[in-house]
Structure formats: C-alpha cells, structure tokens
C-alpha cells in the first residue's frame, strides 16, 4: 500500500507535536522513523493508524484519504507500550484480535497457527499473557499486529525488551515482510535502522530534518572525503608539508599520539587517494594505511537533532 502523508500538523495545546510533515512510502519499502524522545514519531504513527484525529493536512492510502475511508482493517499496529489483556491466554487473545479485524472464521485457526510459528510463541501459547516475559509479550504484540495479514505495518519501537537473538529474528521477520508490504517502524536504536530499513526519516521537534537511505544521509552530512593515512617517512614535517601541497587536499592534521598518522580532508567533490599514493611513490615513502573515515549514523543523528 502506498502511503502519502501530506502537510500533517498536530498540536497539543500550544506545542506542535507534528509540524507540517510530508512524506511518501511505497509498497515494499521499510521506512525507519528516527528522532529523539518527544520528536513526534509516535504522534505521527498514531495519526496514520487513525487513533488520533488529523488536525491539519491529510494521510492518503492508495490515494484515499483516511478522513473519509476506514482503512483500519488494512493496518497492523504495534503500539509503543504494547498494551495487552494480561488475563487472556495468548491463543484467545489472537483469536479476539483476528475476529475484530474481520479475519474469516474458517481462516482464523490457520492464521493463529502461522503467527504462533512466525513469532516463536509455540511453547507459551496456552499461557496467560500476564505470565509471559517482556520479550514474549512483545512477540504477542507483533503477532496481533500481523494476524489479519495487513498491507501496512506500523511498529512503534518493535524490538524493545527483546534479547539480542530475538532482535535478529524480529529484524529478519520485518525485512521479509517488507518485501511485499509497507512497513513504518520507529526506533531509538541506530544500528537497527541501518540493518532493517530501506529509508530513514529523521524527525526533530515535529519537523523532518533528514530523509533518505543511510548512504545518502552520510554523503549529505559528510560533504568532504576524510581519510586517515599512515605514511612511514624519516621526517614527519616533511610529509605534512608535502601533503599540504597537494591540490586535492584541503586540510592535514597530525593524529595525536599516533606515530606517522595523519587525518586528511579532501577538497569537496574531489578524491585525494590517488594523489597521496603517487606522492608517496615519488618520494619513496611507505604508505601503510589508508582508511576512509565514514561519518557514523550516530553523528548525523546528533548533528541534526541537537539544538
């Protein structure tokens, strides 16, 4: 299902939780929603699910506005705190959710079986939800979100409370689902977005501050190529000056405490790798290391969201 969010605004009192946000998500895309606490991620997701009303703007699903079309049956939603009926057994709860989402009666058992298997709930399926650990409750939450085979999955911090093995499993699951469906997920965990999402949307104070794949975001943030090189030569200063003289290099720094290492920033839009190598050959110095420094997603995130 193609989702198009159009100039969405929502305020609580004087504070704008979501401020004129627009973006599109296509079928088969996994969109990662990033942002510090209180940035408006959850609010945006709640509006898409129809739990919160639209104040201004619109949300279109396959071109239809959710204002006058009920799309709830096509959405699977895992809320942030994963509310569940603790007094219900897992199976009953899933059956209840399936019935509410209008899964045909003859398919309910089959769907429950699939979900139990998919989410690894088999040994716990007859227990009451209240007796389950947090990780298993999270799986029940995921199972209920997917029970009716929705076209759009909205997952608000799906991997909280899971152990590392489960996190990997759930990520795989999400990636698998994302091939046919539209998935929007929010998270604080940056490596998770890189591992699962096709596209990243960073939101801060209700506004979108970045939109793109992890790679494009990096390029945007970086601008210039940064290299760390180790050149073994008799005289450090000589190397420094020689590097500085290269036209493709804008700045050179000694790396503190590290023998023969330099951090080099290239002139924007130019690569200096070849020049450095050629220079070393000409002078007879030994180039033992050349590492391109990537800006980490964390840095981008901090830069965009710190005020």
């Amino acid at each position: 299902m193609d989702i198009s969010i159009d100039r969405l605004t929502k305020s609580y009192g004087y504070q704008k939780a979501v401020d004129d946000i627009s973006f599109k998500v296509k079928t088969g895309e996994i969109l990662g929603f990033l942002g510090p606490n209180g940035a408006g991620k959850t609010t945006t997701m709640k509006i898409i699910t129809g739990y919160l009303d639209i104040e201004e703007g619109d949300v279109l699903m396959n071109g239809l506005s959710i204002k006058n079309n009920n799309m709830k049956g096509k959405i699977g939603y895992l809320p942030e705190h994963n509310p569940l009926y603790l007094d219900m057994p897992v199976i009953d709860y899933l059956a209840f959710c399936a019935a509410l989402q209008k899964v045909p009666a003859n398919l309910v058992d089959e769907r429950i079986k699939q979900m139990v298997k998919l989410c690894g709930l088999d040994i716990e399926k007859h227990k009451k939800i209240g007796e389950l650990s947090k990780g298993y409750r999270q799986r029940v939450g995921l199972a209920q979100a997917m029970i009716h085979d929705p076209e759009l999955l909205i997952l608000d911090e799906p991997t909280t409370g899971l152990d590392p093995n489960q996190i990997v499993e759930i990520r795989d699951l999400i990636r698998q689902l994302g091939k046919e469906k539209t998935v929007i997920l929010s998270t604080h965990i940056l490596p998770e977005v890189e591992a699962t999402c096709d596209r990243i949307l960073i939101i801060n104070r209700g506004k979108i501050v970045a939109d793109g794949t992890a790679d494009t975001l990096r390029k945007q943030a970086q601008g210039q190529q940064v290299l760390q090189v180790k050149i073994e030569a008799p005289n450090r200063d000589q190397v420094f000056h020689a590097l500085h003289a290269l036209p493709s290099i804008s700045t050179v720094d000694f790396l503190e405490g590290q023998e023969a290492k330099y951090e080099i920033q290239s002139v924007s839009d130019r690569q200096s790798n070849h020049d450095i190598f050629k220079m070393c050959c000409e002078k007879g110095w030994v180039l033992t290391e050349m590492v391109p420094l990537e800006t980490k997603l964390e840095d981008i995130f901090r830069e965009l969201t710190m005020n």
Binding site: Y77, L84, Y85, C97, Q101
Partner: protein
C-alpha cells in the same frame, strides 16, 4: 461475527474468569434473597402472591451493584492503554461501547434469571399476577439498562475506576431519589418536570404492572443518551 458481540463475549469471559461475576451473582442473590424471604417486611407479610417486595429490594441492590460492574469497563482500557489497541482495529467507537453495555446487561440478566425460582415458588403458593410479575422483571431490566449506560459513561470520562464508581453512583442518586424528592417538595410545572426525570416514578408504575410507552421511552432514551455520550467521550479525547 458482529464486532459488538466479539467485544461483549470477551467482557463476559473476563467477568467469569475473574471473580467479578461470581461475587456479583452471590452478593445480589444473597441480598435480594435475604430481604425478600427472611428479613423485615418480607414477602409473607404482603398476604398476596406477589413479587412486589422482591422488585423493591432488587431496585436498590442493582442500584449499588451495577456501578461496581461498569466502573472498569472503559476506565481500565484507558489506564492499561488497551483502548489504543481496540480503537485501531476495524470497529467503531459505538460498537465498542455497545459491546461493553451488552456484556454488563447480560451479566445483570443472568443474575435476574437466577431469581426466577422466586417467581416459580410464589406462583406455586398462591394466585400470582403473571402480567405484573413479567412487567416487574421488564422494569428491572430497563432500569439496569439505564444504570449500565450511566456507569459506562462515568467510566469513559476517567481512567480511575474509583472515580468512575463514585460518579456513576452520584448520577444514580439523582435519578434514584433526589429528583423524586425535589418533585415532592415543589409544585406546579417544576414538580412535573422533576417527577418526569425521576427514575423511581417510572419504575414504580412499571413494577405495578402498568407498561406505559411513556415509561419505556424514558428508560430507553436515557440508555441511548448514555451510550452516545460515552461514545462521544471516547472520540473526543484526542
């Protein structure tokens, strides 16, 4: 399956899975049985085969018991956040409220069904007025409908069950006797208005065996009004 029934079924399950249903049934039957058969101006004093005494007792026991059943209905969903899960499923807010109402109504109906042996007993002792008895039961059911609706409304404006319970009782007190008292101490059209608003006035005429459309409209309209208000409260809080 109808979404209203799905919600109602889950609620009923949860009544019977927890102790709520059993406590409610035992306490209701205990109280009404005690005051009907054993204590005070009981059924043997009336010197006629009639369940009037029981209807009077049930009128009061239900007044206290219904808020205790309805208080958690929406307040708890709000507190635990499950309301978010429910409202993002393909059901409307009205279906949700109706489901809750139906579950409570069925529980009260089950409690009332357990008093049918009273009817059979009295009928076997003397010449009972079947019409008046049936109309008395209908009156109790209609009254329950009103209080359930009021209780669910009270539950929908807070996430605290105690507040919901007290608020339902507070509204109930007005319907149950304050309007009647005001009607008695005033005169003319003011008295007339409060007399119409008083639930007791309408209940008494029904439990005497007079099934008047005016009374039925009164009960049904308050019930519907309460349900619509609850729906509005759920929808509004966004």
């Amino acid at each position: 399956m109808n979404p209203v029934w799905i919600i109602a079924k889950r609620e009923l399950h949860s009544f019977f899975d927890s102790l709520v249903a059993y406590i409610m049934l035992i306490a209701f039957l205990g109280f009404s049985g005690f005051f009907t058969w054993l204590f005070g101006g009981d059924i043997f004093f009336v010197k006629e085969a009639s369940l009037q005494v029981f209807f009077g007792v049930a009128f009061w026991t239900l007044f206290f018991f219904i808020p205790a059943i309805t208080m958690r209905q929406i307040a708890e969903e709000k507190k635990t956040g499950t309301i978010e899960m429910l409202l993002t499923k393909s059901i409307t807010n009205r279906q949700l409220v109706l489901g809750k109402w139906l579950a409570c109504f069925l529980l009260v109906s089950i409690a009332l069904a357990f008093t049918l042996p009273y009817y059979i007993t009295v009928a076997s002792i003397g010449n009972i007025d079947h019409g008046a008895t049936i109309s008395g039961y209908v009156g109790l059911l209609l009254m329950s409908g009103v209080y359930i609706s009021v209780g669910i409304f009270a539950s929908s404006i807070t996430n605290n069950q105690i507040v919901a319970f007290l608020l339902a009782l507070l509204i109930g007190i007005f319907l149950h006797f304050l309007f009647g008292i005001i009607a008695g101490s005033t005169s003319g059209w003011i008295s007339e208005i409060f007399n119409t608003l008083s639930l007791t006035t309408h209940f008494e005429s029904i439990s005497r065996g007079v099934l008047d459309t005016k009374d039925i409209i009164y009960f049904l309209s308050i019930t519907v009004f309460g349900i619509l208000l609850s729906e509005y409260m759920i929808t509004k809080k966004k």
